[in-house]
Subunit: 131 residues, 2 copies
């Protein structure tokens, strides 16, 4: 994407007062929601430049090239924005697992009507092997 | 859910400094991501009490019982929380369409590698018939 088009895209998006926009990652094949994180302008630029999804880490306050340390990267398949232009949905090819716990998705805790919480996914990769 | 269990759930979640948590809605059958909005404690309580998804409207600053005006409500099928307990994923039975534009999902704008934006969904219900 050339600089002009990128500039148009970035200026069309509504970032919050910290310059961030929520980004949902969904597996492009299985369609399960893998995680939700945040992007800033730089991470969107990096995502398009590399074809690999890059977030902004609020805790570390730096670019979070997903999978750079763990190897569990996300290949960009589709980049969608919502009607209000204040949320991003990236469809990805997930290499390995998305969750730092070694589970496929971060959304593995299900709360039933009576309030009980159960784990719906098992650990696929030992977190010790990820970090 | 009894008050004690609800209290446990709410106190286990990480709300932001406005008392809100992001909530992603996903169709429980087709698995497409429909929208992202925000919940506060009261809207989570309302969601479990009624079995219909309720958000918090940041623009109107009140409870947003999805579909109350438009009829396009979301029946709660599963309530999932992520590993950090700071994001909610509701799997829903979507009655009608999720987007205020009359499209099935809010994520209908796709940005290609070269920066062009295309609409991937058509309007199913005229917004004039929704509001």
């Amino acid at each position: 994407m050339n600089k002009s088009k990128l500039g148009d895209l970035l200026s069309s998006l509504k970032f919050n007062d910290q310059g961030l926009i929520p980004a949902i990652a969904q597996d492009s094949v299985k369609n399960d929601v893998l995680m939700m994180a945040w992007m800033n302008k730089e991470s969107i630029e990096e995502t398009f430049a590399t074809g690999r999804v890059c977030y902004w880490s609020r805790s570390r306050q730096n670019l979070w090239k997903k999978g750079e340390t763990s190897g569990q990267h996300q290949e960009l398949v589709d980049f969608l924005i919502d009607c209000d232009r204040d949320t991003v949905l990236v469809k990805v090819k997930q290499h390995g697992v998305a969750c730092h716990t070694g589970r496929r998705s971060c959304f593995y805790l299900s709360v039933s009507e009576n309030g009980d919480t159960t784990e719906t996914m098992s650990v696929e990769i030992d977190p010790k092997d990820l970090y």
